[in-house]
Protein backbone atom coordinates (compact mmCIF):
# COMPACT_ATOMS: atom_id res chain seq x y z
CA UNK A 1 0.00 0.00 0.00
CA UNK A 2 1.42 3.32 -1.07
CA UNK A 3 -0.05 6.23 0.90
CA UNK A 4 0.63 9.85 0.00
CA UNK A 5 -0.13 12.43 2.65
CA UNK A 6 -0.45 16.07 1.64
CA UNK A 7 1.36 18.41 3.99
CA UNK A 8 0.89 22.15 3.77
CA UNK A 9 2.98 24.86 5.32
CA UNK A 10 0.78 27.55 6.81
CA UNK A 11 1.30 30.63 8.97
CA UNK A 12 1.00 29.71 12.62
CA UNK A 13 -2.50 30.59 13.79
CA UNK A 14 -1.07 31.53 17.21
CA UNK A 15 0.45 34.63 15.66
CA UNK A 16 -0.91 37.44 13.57
CA UNK A 17 -1.21 36.46 9.91
CA UNK A 18 -0.67 39.07 7.26
CA UNK A 19 -1.23 39.55 3.54
CA UNK A 20 0.92 41.71 1.31
CA UNK A 21 -1.51 44.37 0.20
CA UNK A 22 0.07 44.91 -3.21
CA UNK A 23 -0.34 41.29 -4.31
CA UNK A 24 -2.88 39.81 -1.92
CA UNK A 25 -0.39 37.05 -1.23
CA UNK A 26 0.71 35.74 2.13
CA UNK A 27 3.38 37.78 3.85
CA UNK A 28 5.62 34.91 4.86
CA UNK A 29 7.86 37.12 6.96
CA UNK A 30 5.00 38.13 9.27
CA UNK A 31 4.45 34.82 11.00
CA UNK A 32 6.11 31.53 11.86
CA UNK A 33 5.55 28.73 9.38
CA UNK A 34 4.20 25.44 10.71
CA UNK A 35 2.72 22.22 9.34
CA UNK A 36 -1.00 22.72 9.23
CA UNK A 37 -2.35 20.95 12.29
CA UNK A 38 -4.95 19.12 10.20
CA UNK A 39 -2.23 17.61 8.00
CA UNK A 40 -0.53 16.13 11.06
CA UNK A 41 -3.81 14.33 11.67
CA UNK A 42 -3.89 13.17 8.04
CA UNK A 43 -0.38 11.81 8.54
CA UNK A 44 -1.51 10.09 11.73
CA UNK A 45 -4.30 8.29 9.81
CA UNK A 46 -1.66 6.99 7.38
CA UNK A 47 0.76 6.01 10.15
CA UNK A 48 -1.92 4.09 12.04
CA UNK A 49 -2.52 1.98 8.94
CA UNK A 50 1.23 1.49 8.56
CA UNK A 51 1.52 0.46 12.25
CA UNK A 52 -0.74 -2.50 11.53
CA UNK A 53 -0.14 -3.30 7.84
CA UNK A 54 2.53 -3.22 5.22
CA UNK A 55 2.58 0.32 3.84
CA UNK A 56 4.82 3.03 2.51
CA UNK A 57 3.95 6.55 3.64
CA UNK A 58 5.13 9.53 1.59
CA UNK A 59 4.70 13.14 2.73
CA UNK A 60 4.17 15.51 -0.21
CA UNK A 61 4.32 19.27 -0.16
CA UNK A 62 4.53 22.11 -2.65
CA UNK A 63 6.08 25.38 -1.59
CA UNK A 64 9.26 27.40 -1.06
CA UNK A 65 12.49 26.05 0.42
CA UNK A 66 11.22 26.53 3.98
CA UNK A 67 8.89 23.58 3.38
CA UNK A 68 11.84 21.23 3.96
CA UNK A 69 11.44 21.75 7.68
CA UNK A 70 7.80 20.59 7.63
CA UNK A 71 8.75 17.55 5.60
CA UNK A 72 11.52 16.69 8.10
CA UNK A 73 8.94 16.79 10.86
CA UNK A 74 6.68 14.46 8.86
CA UNK A 75 9.63 12.08 8.46
CA UNK A 76 10.34 12.30 12.20
CA UNK A 77 6.70 11.41 12.93
CA UNK A 78 7.13 8.27 10.83
CA UNK A 79 6.71 8.94 7.11
CA UNK A 80 9.12 6.82 5.02
CA UNK A 81 10.07 9.49 2.52
CA UNK A 82 9.18 12.99 1.46
CA UNK A 83 8.56 14.79 -1.83
CA UNK A 84 8.95 18.50 -2.21
CA UNK A 85 7.69 20.25 -5.34
CA UNK A 86 9.66 23.46 -5.51
CA UNK A 87 9.89 25.84 -8.42
CA UNK A 88 10.08 29.63 -8.50
CA UNK A 89 7.43 29.62 -11.24
CA UNK A 90 4.95 28.26 -8.69
CA UNK A 91 5.05 31.28 -6.44
CA UNK A 92 1.55 32.69 -5.89
CA UNK A 93 -0.20 29.64 -7.35
CA UNK A 94 -3.98 29.58 -7.02
CA UNK A 95 -6.11 26.55 -6.21
CA UNK A 96 -6.30 25.30 -9.81
CA UNK A 97 -2.58 25.38 -10.36
CA UNK A 98 -1.78 23.91 -6.95
CA UNK A 99 -4.13 21.00 -7.58
CA UNK A 100 -2.74 20.39 -11.06
CA UNK A 101 0.87 20.35 -9.85
CA UNK A 102 0.17 18.17 -6.82
CA UNK A 103 -1.79 15.76 -9.00
CA UNK A 104 1.14 15.54 -11.42
CA UNK A 105 3.51 14.78 -8.54
CA UNK A 106 1.15 12.14 -7.14
CA UNK A 107 0.78 10.51 -10.56
CA UNK A 108 4.54 10.45 -11.05
CA UNK A 109 5.15 8.95 -7.62
CA UNK A 110 2.36 6.38 -7.92
CA UNK A 111 -0.17 5.84 -5.11
CA UNK A 112 -2.98 3.76 -3.73
CA UNK A 113 -4.49 6.40 -1.51
CA UNK A 114 -3.98 10.12 -0.99
CA UNK A 115 -4.85 11.52 2.45
CA UNK A 116 -5.25 15.24 3.05
CA UNK A 117 -6.65 17.48 5.73
CA UNK A 118 -10.17 18.75 5.04
CA UNK A 119 -9.21 22.40 4.72
CA UNK A 120 -6.13 24.50 5.36
CA UNK A 121 -6.20 26.97 8.23
CA UNK A 122 -5.03 29.78 5.95
CA UNK A 123 -7.07 29.53 2.75
CA UNK A 124 -9.90 27.44 4.20
CA UNK A 125 -10.89 26.40 0.70
CA UNK A 126 -11.36 22.69 1.28
CA UNK A 127 -11.41 22.01 -2.46
CA UNK A 128 -7.89 20.81 -3.27
CA UNK A 129 -8.47 17.09 -2.49
CA UNK A 130 -11.52 16.94 -4.79
CA UNK A 131 -9.65 18.81 -7.53
CA UNK A 132 -6.73 16.40 -7.27
CA UNK A 133 -9.11 13.44 -7.45
CA UNK A 134 -10.66 14.87 -10.62
CA UNK A 135 -7.20 15.23 -12.19
CA UNK A 136 -6.29 11.69 -11.20
CA UNK A 137 -9.67 10.24 -12.21
CA UNK A 138 -10.29 8.65 -8.82
CA UNK A 139 -13.16 8.80 -6.34
CA UNK A 140 -12.89 11.39 -3.59
CA UNK A 141 -14.38 11.34 -0.13
CA UNK A 142 -13.79 14.56 1.74
CA UNK A 143 -14.44 15.66 5.34
CA UNK A 144 -14.26 12.17 6.84
CA UNK A 145 -14.63 12.09 10.63
CA UNK A 146 -13.53 8.46 10.71
CA UNK A 147 -11.72 6.30 8.19
CA UNK A 148 -11.14 2.58 7.66
CA UNK A 149 -8.55 1.62 5.06
CA UNK A 150 -8.30 -1.93 3.75
CA UNK A 151 -5.99 -3.38 1.12
CA UNK A 152 -8.41 -2.57 -1.70
CA UNK A 153 -10.79 0.05 -0.41
CA UNK A 154 -11.51 2.87 1.96
CA UNK A 155 -14.66 3.66 3.87
CA UNK A 156 -15.63 6.28 6.35
CA UNK A 157 -18.18 8.59 7.81
CA UNK A 158 -18.46 11.99 6.31
CA UNK A 159 -19.94 14.78 8.36
CA UNK A 160 -21.85 17.47 6.52
CA UNK A 161 -24.06 20.34 7.64
CA UNK A 162 -27.11 18.14 7.91
CA UNK A 163 -25.87 14.95 9.51
CA UNK A 164 -23.55 12.16 8.48
CA UNK A 165 -23.15 10.01 5.42
CA UNK A 166 -21.44 6.61 5.39
CA UNK A 167 -19.41 6.20 2.20
CA UNK A 168 -16.96 3.83 0.59
CA UNK A 169 -14.76 3.71 -2.50
CA UNK A 170 -12.37 1.36 -4.20
CA UNK A 171 -8.67 2.27 -4.33
CA UNK A 172 -7.03 4.28 -5.73
CA UNK A 173 -8.85 7.15 -4.05
CA UNK A 174 -8.35 10.57 -2.51
CA UNK A 175 -9.73 11.33 0.94
CA UNK A 176 -9.64 14.22 3.35
CA UNK A 177 -10.12 13.98 7.09
CA UNK A 178 -11.48 16.39 9.71
CA UNK A 179 -10.13 17.30 13.11
CA UNK A 180 -12.49 14.70 14.61
CA UNK A 181 -10.07 12.03 13.31
CA UNK A 182 -6.86 10.81 14.93
CA UNK A 183 -4.86 12.95 17.40
CA UNK A 184 -1.37 13.19 15.88
CA UNK A 185 1.64 11.55 17.54
CA UNK A 186 4.71 13.52 18.59
CA UNK A 187 8.02 12.72 16.93
CA UNK A 188 10.31 11.04 19.45
CA UNK A 189 14.10 11.28 19.61
CA UNK A 190 14.58 8.07 17.63
CA UNK A 191 12.22 9.34 14.97
CA UNK A 192 14.06 12.62 14.70
CA UNK A 193 17.42 10.86 14.34
CA UNK A 194 16.06 8.44 11.74
CA UNK A 195 14.43 11.29 9.79
CA UNK A 196 17.85 12.67 8.91
CA UNK A 197 18.61 9.58 6.84
CA UNK A 198 15.27 9.27 5.08
CA UNK A 199 14.95 10.33 1.43
CA UNK A 200 13.62 13.79 0.68
CA UNK A 201 13.35 14.42 -3.06
CA UNK A 202 12.90 17.85 -4.60
CA UNK A 203 11.02 18.02 -7.91
CA UNK A 204 10.78 21.00 -10.24
CA UNK A 205 8.05 21.64 -12.80
CA UNK A 206 10.38 20.20 -15.45
CA UNK A 207 10.76 17.02 -13.38
CA UNK A 208 6.99 16.71 -13.49
CA UNK A 209 6.91 17.22 -17.24
CA UNK A 210 5.08 20.53 -16.80
CA UNK A 211 6.17 23.88 -18.11
CA UNK A 212 5.12 27.16 -16.60
CA UNK A 213 3.56 28.49 -19.82
CA UNK A 214 0.40 26.44 -19.55
CA UNK A 215 0.12 27.19 -15.88
CA UNK A 216 -0.91 30.79 -15.66
CA UNK A 217 -3.12 31.10 -12.59
CA UNK A 218 -6.78 31.13 -13.58
CA UNK A 219 -7.76 33.57 -10.85
CA UNK A 220 -6.29 36.99 -10.19
CA UNK A 221 -6.37 39.04 -7.00
CA UNK A 222 -7.37 42.59 -7.91
CA UNK A 223 -7.68 44.29 -4.55
CA UNK A 224 -6.68 43.68 -0.92
CA UNK A 225 -7.77 45.87 1.96
CA UNK A 226 -7.10 45.50 5.65
CA UNK A 227 -9.92 45.88 8.12
CA UNK A 228 -9.08 48.11 11.06
CA UNK A 229 -8.41 46.03 14.17
CA UNK A 230 -11.24 45.85 16.67
CA UNK A 231 -10.83 47.86 19.81
CA UNK A 232 -11.97 47.04 23.30
CA UNK A 233 -15.08 48.67 24.71
CA UNK A 234 -15.93 48.82 28.40
CA UNK A 235 -14.99 46.18 30.95
CA UNK A 236 -16.94 46.05 34.20
CA UNK A 237 -16.32 43.92 37.24
CA UNK A 238 -19.48 42.18 38.40
CA UNK A 239 -20.60 43.54 41.72
CA UNK A 240 -23.88 41.73 41.76
CA UNK A 241 -25.67 43.66 39.04
CA UNK A 242 -23.80 42.73 35.82
CA UNK A 243 -26.67 40.64 34.44
CA UNK A 244 -28.99 43.64 34.61
CA UNK A 245 -26.29 45.90 33.18
CA UNK A 246 -25.89 43.64 30.14
CA UNK A 247 -29.66 43.73 29.60
CA UNK A 248 -29.53 47.54 29.72
CA UNK A 249 -26.60 47.62 27.30
CA UNK A 250 -28.49 45.38 24.87
CA UNK A 251 -31.66 47.46 25.17
CA UNK A 252 -29.74 50.71 24.63
CA UNK A 253 -28.19 49.25 21.45
CA UNK A 254 -31.63 48.00 20.30
CA UNK A 255 -30.23 44.46 20.37
CA UNK A 256 -33.26 43.16 22.27
Amino acid sequence: MKIIVLVKQVPDTWGERKLTKATGQLDRSASDAVIDEIDERALEVALQYKDAQDAEVIALSMGPSSVTEMLRKSLAMGADSALHVQDDALSGSDLSRTAAVLAAAIAKSGFDIVIAGNEATDGRGGVIPAMIAEHLGTPSMTYLDSVAITSDGVSGVRADEHGTVAVHAALPAVISITEASAEPRFPNFRGIMKAKKKPLDVWSLADLGLDDSGFAPSTVVVNTTERPARTAGTKNIDEGNAGNEIAEFLAAGRLI
Binding site: V127, T138, T164, V165, A166, H168, V221, T224, R227, I246
Partner: protein, 324 residues
Protein backbone atom coordinates in the same frame (compact mmCIF):
# COMPACT_ATOMS: atom_id res chain seq x y z
CA UNK B 1 -27.51 39.58 -20.02
CA UNK B 2 -25.52 36.40 -19.56
CA UNK B 3 -26.79 33.46 -17.56
CA UNK B 4 -25.54 32.59 -14.08
CA UNK B 5 -26.19 29.11 -12.74
CA UNK B 6 -27.03 28.53 -9.07
CA UNK B 7 -26.52 24.94 -8.01
CA UNK B 8 -29.30 23.91 -5.62
CA UNK B 9 -28.58 21.20 -3.06
CA UNK B 10 -31.35 18.89 -1.95
CA UNK B 11 -31.78 16.50 0.97
CA UNK B 12 -31.93 12.73 0.62
CA UNK B 13 -35.69 12.97 0.16
CA UNK B 14 -35.51 15.74 -2.38
CA UNK B 15 -36.16 18.82 -0.26
CA UNK B 16 -34.44 22.03 -1.30
CA UNK B 17 -31.68 23.04 1.16
CA UNK B 18 -31.86 26.42 2.84
CA UNK B 19 -28.89 27.81 0.89
CA UNK B 20 -31.05 27.99 -2.26
CA UNK B 21 -32.40 31.52 -1.74
CA UNK B 22 -28.93 32.94 -1.09
CA UNK B 23 -27.44 31.22 -4.15
CA UNK B 24 -30.19 32.35 -6.50
CA UNK B 25 -29.75 35.90 -5.18
CA UNK B 26 -25.98 35.64 -5.78
CA UNK B 27 -26.59 34.36 -9.32
CA UNK B 28 -29.02 37.25 -9.90
CA UNK B 29 -26.20 39.67 -9.04
CA UNK B 30 -24.17 38.11 -11.86
CA UNK B 31 -26.71 37.57 -14.62
CA UNK B 32 -30.06 35.93 -15.28
CA UNK B 33 -30.36 33.35 -12.51
CA UNK B 34 -30.85 29.73 -13.55
CA UNK B 35 -31.37 27.18 -10.76
CA UNK B 36 -29.78 23.80 -11.50
CA UNK B 37 -30.96 20.86 -9.46
CA UNK B 38 -30.65 17.09 -9.61
CA UNK B 39 -33.80 15.14 -8.92
CA UNK B 40 -35.42 11.80 -9.37
CA UNK B 41 -37.49 11.72 -12.58
CA UNK B 42 -40.84 13.48 -12.20
CA UNK B 43 -39.95 15.99 -9.48
CA UNK B 44 -39.46 18.91 -11.87
CA UNK B 45 -42.74 20.83 -11.55
CA UNK B 46 -42.69 21.04 -7.76
CA UNK B 47 -39.04 22.12 -7.74
CA UNK B 48 -39.64 24.65 -10.48
CA UNK B 49 -42.41 26.37 -8.47
CA UNK B 50 -40.26 26.44 -5.32
CA UNK B 51 -37.17 27.78 -7.04
CA UNK B 52 -39.18 30.32 -9.01
CA UNK B 53 -40.52 31.68 -5.73
CA UNK B 54 -36.89 32.22 -4.71
CA UNK B 55 -36.16 34.16 -7.90
CA UNK B 56 -34.97 31.63 -10.48
CA UNK B 57 -35.80 32.83 -14.01
CA UNK B 58 -35.08 29.35 -15.35
CA UNK B 59 -34.93 25.96 -13.71
CA UNK B 60 -32.76 23.20 -15.13
CA UNK B 61 -33.66 19.84 -13.66
CA UNK B 62 -31.20 17.04 -14.31
CA UNK B 63 -33.06 13.80 -13.84
CA UNK B 64 -31.14 10.86 -12.50
CA UNK B 65 -31.96 7.62 -10.73
CA UNK B 66 -28.54 7.73 -9.13
CA UNK B 67 -29.20 10.67 -6.79
CA UNK B 68 -28.39 9.56 -3.30
CA UNK B 69 -26.35 6.54 -4.35
CA UNK B 70 -23.14 8.13 -5.66
CA UNK B 71 -21.33 10.89 -3.77
CA UNK B 72 -21.48 14.18 -5.74
CA UNK B 73 -21.12 12.46 -9.15
CA UNK B 74 -24.71 13.07 -10.36
CA UNK B 75 -24.47 16.69 -9.20
CA UNK B 76 -21.22 17.15 -11.09
CA UNK B 77 -22.72 15.65 -14.27
CA UNK B 78 -25.75 17.92 -13.95
CA UNK B 79 -23.59 21.03 -13.84
CA UNK B 80 -21.44 19.83 -16.73
CA UNK B 81 -24.63 19.26 -18.76
CA UNK B 82 -26.20 22.60 -17.75
CA UNK B 83 -23.00 24.45 -18.48
CA UNK B 84 -22.71 22.89 -21.94
CA UNK B 85 -26.34 23.68 -22.72
CA UNK B 86 -26.48 27.21 -21.34
CA UNK B 87 -22.92 28.62 -21.63
CA UNK B 88 -23.18 30.64 -18.40
CA UNK B 89 -20.72 33.33 -17.31
CA UNK B 90 -20.77 32.06 -13.72
CA UNK B 91 -21.73 29.01 -11.68
CA UNK B 92 -22.40 29.60 -7.98
CA UNK B 93 -22.37 26.76 -5.49
CA UNK B 94 -22.70 26.75 -1.69
CA UNK B 95 -19.40 26.57 0.18
CA UNK B 96 -20.82 23.52 1.92
CA UNK B 97 -19.15 20.16 2.35
CA UNK B 98 -20.83 18.81 -0.81
CA UNK B 99 -20.59 22.14 -2.62
CA UNK B 100 -16.81 22.34 -2.27
CA UNK B 101 -16.36 18.86 -3.65
CA UNK B 102 -18.67 19.57 -6.58
CA UNK B 103 -17.14 22.98 -7.34
CA UNK B 104 -13.56 21.70 -7.09
CA UNK B 105 -14.20 18.85 -9.48
CA UNK B 106 -16.19 21.05 -11.84
CA UNK B 107 -13.40 23.64 -12.09
CA UNK B 108 -10.97 20.92 -13.15
CA UNK B 109 -13.50 19.35 -15.53
CA UNK B 110 -14.31 22.69 -17.22
CA UNK B 111 -10.69 23.93 -16.99
CA UNK B 112 -11.75 27.20 -15.48
CA UNK B 113 -11.03 29.37 -12.46
CA UNK B 114 -12.46 28.81 -9.00
CA UNK B 115 -13.17 31.46 -6.38
CA UNK B 116 -13.95 29.89 -3.02
CA UNK B 117 -15.69 30.93 0.16
CA UNK B 118 -16.74 34.33 -1.12
CA UNK B 119 -18.95 36.55 1.02
CA UNK B 120 -20.24 38.56 -1.94
CA UNK B 121 -20.12 38.66 -5.75
CA UNK B 122 -20.20 41.35 -8.39
CA UNK B 123 -20.21 41.40 -12.18
CA UNK B 124 -18.37 43.98 -14.26
CA UNK B 125 -19.74 43.13 -17.68
CA UNK B 126 -19.20 39.39 -17.98
CA UNK B 127 -16.23 39.42 -15.59
CA UNK B 128 -17.09 37.97 -12.21
CA UNK B 129 -15.50 39.35 -9.06
CA UNK B 130 -15.63 37.42 -5.81
CA UNK B 131 -15.18 39.18 -2.49
CA UNK B 132 -13.37 37.14 0.14
CA UNK B 133 -13.07 37.73 3.85
CA UNK B 134 -9.66 36.39 4.83
CA UNK B 135 -7.93 35.56 8.14
CA UNK B 136 -11.02 35.92 10.28
CA UNK B 137 -12.17 39.06 8.53
CA UNK B 138 -8.85 40.88 8.96
CA UNK B 139 -8.63 41.37 5.17
CA UNK B 140 -11.03 41.79 2.31
CA UNK B 141 -9.65 40.39 -0.93
CA UNK B 142 -11.27 40.76 -4.34
CA UNK B 143 -10.40 38.31 -7.08
CA UNK B 144 -11.57 37.63 -10.62
CA UNK B 145 -11.44 34.84 -13.16
CA UNK B 146 -9.92 36.15 -16.38
CA UNK B 147 -10.18 34.11 -19.55
CA UNK B 148 -13.06 32.39 -21.20
CA UNK B 149 -14.78 29.74 -19.15
CA UNK B 150 -17.46 30.33 -16.57
CA UNK B 151 -16.22 31.51 -13.17
CA UNK B 152 -17.01 28.91 -10.55
CA UNK B 153 -17.77 30.49 -7.21
CA UNK B 154 -18.52 28.95 -3.82
CA UNK B 155 -20.46 31.24 -1.50
CA UNK B 156 -20.05 31.15 2.28
CA UNK B 157 -23.32 29.92 3.76
CA UNK B 158 -25.35 32.73 5.27
CA UNK B 159 -23.04 35.44 3.92
CA UNK B 160 -25.39 37.04 1.40
CA UNK B 161 -28.56 38.60 2.78
CA UNK B 162 -29.95 39.84 -0.56
CA UNK B 163 -32.91 37.96 -2.00
CA UNK B 164 -34.08 37.87 -5.63
CA UNK B 165 -37.66 38.73 -6.62
CA UNK B 166 -39.99 35.81 -7.27
CA UNK B 167 -40.25 34.77 -10.92
CA UNK B 168 -42.22 32.34 -13.08
CA UNK B 169 -39.43 30.18 -14.36
CA UNK B 170 -39.19 28.23 -17.57
CA UNK B 171 -38.47 24.59 -16.84
CA UNK B 172 -35.96 22.45 -18.71
CA UNK B 173 -35.63 18.79 -17.86
CA UNK B 174 -32.73 16.74 -19.06
CA UNK B 175 -31.94 13.15 -18.17
CA UNK B 176 -28.33 12.59 -17.16
CA UNK B 177 -26.32 9.44 -16.79
CA UNK B 178 -23.27 9.33 -14.63
CA UNK B 179 -20.37 8.15 -16.72
CA UNK B 180 -17.96 5.37 -15.95
CA UNK B 181 -15.71 7.73 -13.98
CA UNK B 182 -15.15 6.27 -10.54
CA UNK B 183 -17.15 7.78 -7.70
CA UNK B 184 -17.54 7.07 -4.02
CA UNK B 185 -20.66 5.16 -3.06
CA UNK B 186 -23.14 6.32 -0.41
CA UNK B 187 -23.98 3.49 1.98
CA UNK B 188 -26.22 5.29 4.45
CA UNK B 189 -27.45 8.78 5.24
CA UNK B 190 -28.25 9.96 8.76
CA UNK B 191 -29.88 13.35 8.82
CA UNK B 192 -29.30 14.88 12.24
CA UNK B 193 -32.60 15.54 13.96
CA UNK B 194 -33.28 19.27 14.03
CA UNK B 195 -32.85 19.88 17.74
CA UNK B 196 -35.20 22.81 18.20
CA UNK B 197 -36.62 25.82 16.47
CA UNK B 198 -33.46 27.69 17.44
CA UNK B 199 -31.91 29.59 14.51
CA UNK B 200 -29.10 27.98 12.59
CA UNK B 201 -25.63 29.15 13.58
CA UNK B 202 -24.61 30.08 10.03
CA UNK B 203 -26.07 33.41 9.12
CA UNK B 204 -27.74 33.90 12.55
CA UNK B 205 -28.34 37.51 13.63
CA UNK B 206 -27.55 36.65 17.26
CA UNK B 207 -25.21 34.02 18.62
CA UNK B 208 -24.56 32.92 22.19
CA UNK B 209 -21.43 30.78 22.51
CA UNK B 210 -20.10 28.82 25.45
CA UNK B 211 -16.57 27.70 26.25
CA UNK B 212 -14.68 25.45 28.59
CA UNK B 213 -15.69 27.82 31.39
CA UNK B 214 -19.12 26.15 31.43
CA UNK B 215 -17.42 23.15 33.00
CA UNK B 216 -19.74 20.33 31.90
CA UNK B 217 -22.30 19.26 29.36
CA UNK B 218 -25.08 19.75 31.94
CA UNK B 219 -23.91 23.27 32.72
CA UNK B 220 -23.78 24.09 29.01
CA UNK B 221 -27.60 24.20 29.17
CA UNK B 222 -27.12 27.72 30.55
CA UNK B 223 -25.80 28.81 27.15
CA UNK B 224 -28.86 27.31 25.48
CA UNK B 225 -31.19 29.02 27.95
CA UNK B 226 -29.70 32.44 27.23
CA UNK B 227 -29.77 31.71 23.49
CA UNK B 228 -33.46 30.85 23.70
CA UNK B 229 -34.21 33.97 25.73
CA UNK B 230 -32.62 36.02 22.94
CA UNK B 231 -33.82 33.97 19.98
CA UNK B 232 -30.15 33.33 19.26
CA UNK B 233 -28.19 30.45 17.77
CA UNK B 234 -25.84 28.40 19.97
CA UNK B 235 -22.11 28.33 19.30
CA UNK B 236 -19.09 27.01 21.16
CA UNK B 237 -15.34 27.19 21.44
CA UNK B 238 -13.23 24.29 20.31
CA UNK B 239 -12.39 23.45 23.93
CA UNK B 240 -16.11 23.06 24.66
CA UNK B 241 -16.48 20.83 21.60
CA UNK B 242 -13.41 18.76 22.52
CA UNK B 243 -14.78 18.33 26.05
CA UNK B 244 -17.97 16.92 24.52
CA UNK B 245 -20.36 19.63 25.75
CA UNK B 246 -21.69 20.20 22.22
CA UNK B 247 -21.28 18.67 18.75
CA UNK B 248 -18.51 19.85 16.42
CA UNK B 249 -21.07 21.54 14.17
CA UNK B 250 -21.39 24.26 16.85
CA UNK B 251 -17.70 25.21 16.76
CA UNK B 252 -17.00 28.84 15.99
CA UNK B 253 -13.53 29.84 14.88
CA UNK B 254 -10.51 29.17 12.76
CA UNK B 255 -11.41 25.56 12.07
CA UNK B 256 -15.11 25.93 12.81
CA UNK B 257 -17.85 28.15 11.48
CA UNK B 258 -17.26 31.84 10.81
CA UNK B 259 -20.14 33.93 12.09
CA UNK B 260 -20.82 37.61 11.57
CA UNK B 261 -23.94 38.33 13.65
CA UNK B 262 -25.37 41.59 14.96
CA UNK B 263 -24.74 40.30 18.48
CA UNK B 264 -22.23 37.74 19.76
CA UNK B 265 -22.19 36.78 23.42
CA UNK B 266 -19.19 34.76 24.63
CA UNK B 267 -19.66 32.89 27.91
CA UNK B 268 -16.64 31.35 29.64
CA UNK B 269 -14.52 31.68 26.50
CA UNK B 270 -10.95 32.94 26.84
CA UNK B 271 -10.89 34.32 23.31
CA UNK B 272 -7.84 32.55 21.90
CA UNK B 273 -6.78 33.98 18.55
CA UNK B 274 -8.29 31.00 16.71
CA UNK B 275 -11.68 31.58 18.32
CA UNK B 276 -11.57 35.30 17.60
CA UNK B 277 -10.89 34.53 13.95
CA UNK B 278 -14.40 33.11 13.70
CA UNK B 279 -16.39 35.88 15.36
CA UNK B 280 -14.50 39.15 15.38
CA UNK B 281 -16.58 40.62 12.55
CA UNK B 282 -19.69 40.52 14.77
CA UNK B 283 -21.32 43.96 15.06
CA UNK B 284 -21.48 43.90 18.86
CA UNK B 285 -19.59 41.56 21.18
CA UNK B 286 -20.48 40.91 24.82
CA UNK B 287 -18.20 38.72 26.94
CA UNK B 288 -18.49 37.28 30.42
CA UNK B 289 -15.34 35.74 31.86
CA UNK B 290 -13.91 35.29 35.37
CA UNK B 291 -10.42 36.22 34.25
CA UNK B 292 -9.93 39.99 33.86
CA UNK B 293 -6.97 39.34 31.53
CA UNK B 294 -8.86 37.05 29.13
CA UNK B 295 -8.04 38.12 25.54
CA UNK B 296 -11.76 38.18 24.67
CA UNK B 297 -11.98 41.49 26.55
CA UNK B 298 -9.62 43.00 23.98
CA UNK B 299 -12.40 42.89 21.36
CA UNK B 300 -15.58 42.97 23.48
CA UNK B 301 -17.79 46.05 23.29
CA UNK B 302 -19.20 45.17 26.68
CA UNK B 303 -17.11 42.97 28.94
CA UNK B 304 -18.08 41.63 32.34
CA UNK B 305 -15.50 40.18 34.66
CA UNK B 306 -17.64 37.74 36.54
CA UNK B 307 -18.95 34.21 36.98
CA UNK B 308 -21.27 33.02 34.21
CA UNK B 309 -23.28 31.03 36.75
CA UNK B 310 -24.33 34.18 38.60
CA UNK B 311 -24.35 36.77 35.78
CA UNK B 312 -26.22 34.76 33.14
CA UNK B 313 -29.23 33.74 35.29
CA UNK B 314 -29.63 37.38 36.28
CA UNK B 315 -29.42 38.41 32.62
CA UNK B 316 -32.05 35.83 31.63
CA UNK B 317 -34.28 37.15 34.40
CA UNK B 318 -33.81 40.71 33.26
CA UNK B 319 -34.61 39.77 29.66
CA UNK B 320 -37.76 38.00 30.85
CA UNK B 321 -38.91 41.08 32.78
CA UNK B 322 -38.29 43.34 29.80
CA UNK B 323 -40.21 41.02 27.50
CA UNK B 324 -43.33 41.32 29.68
Amino acid sequence: MSLALAFIETSANGEVRNTAAMLIAAAAQLGTPVAVVVAAPGAGDTLSAQLGALGAAQVFVAESDQVGTLLVAPQLEALVAASAALQPSAIVVAHSIDGREIAGRLAVRLKTGLLVDVVDVRADGDAVTGIHSVFGGAYTVEATVPGGGPAIVTVRQGAIDARADAASPTLTTQPITVGAAPAAVIDAVHEAAVASDRPELRGAARVVSGGRGLGSQENFALVEKLADALGAAVGASRAAVDAGYVPQTSQVGQTGITVSPQLYIALGISGAIQHRAGMQTAKTIVAINKDPDAPIFGIADFGVVGDVFTVVPQLIDALGKRAQ
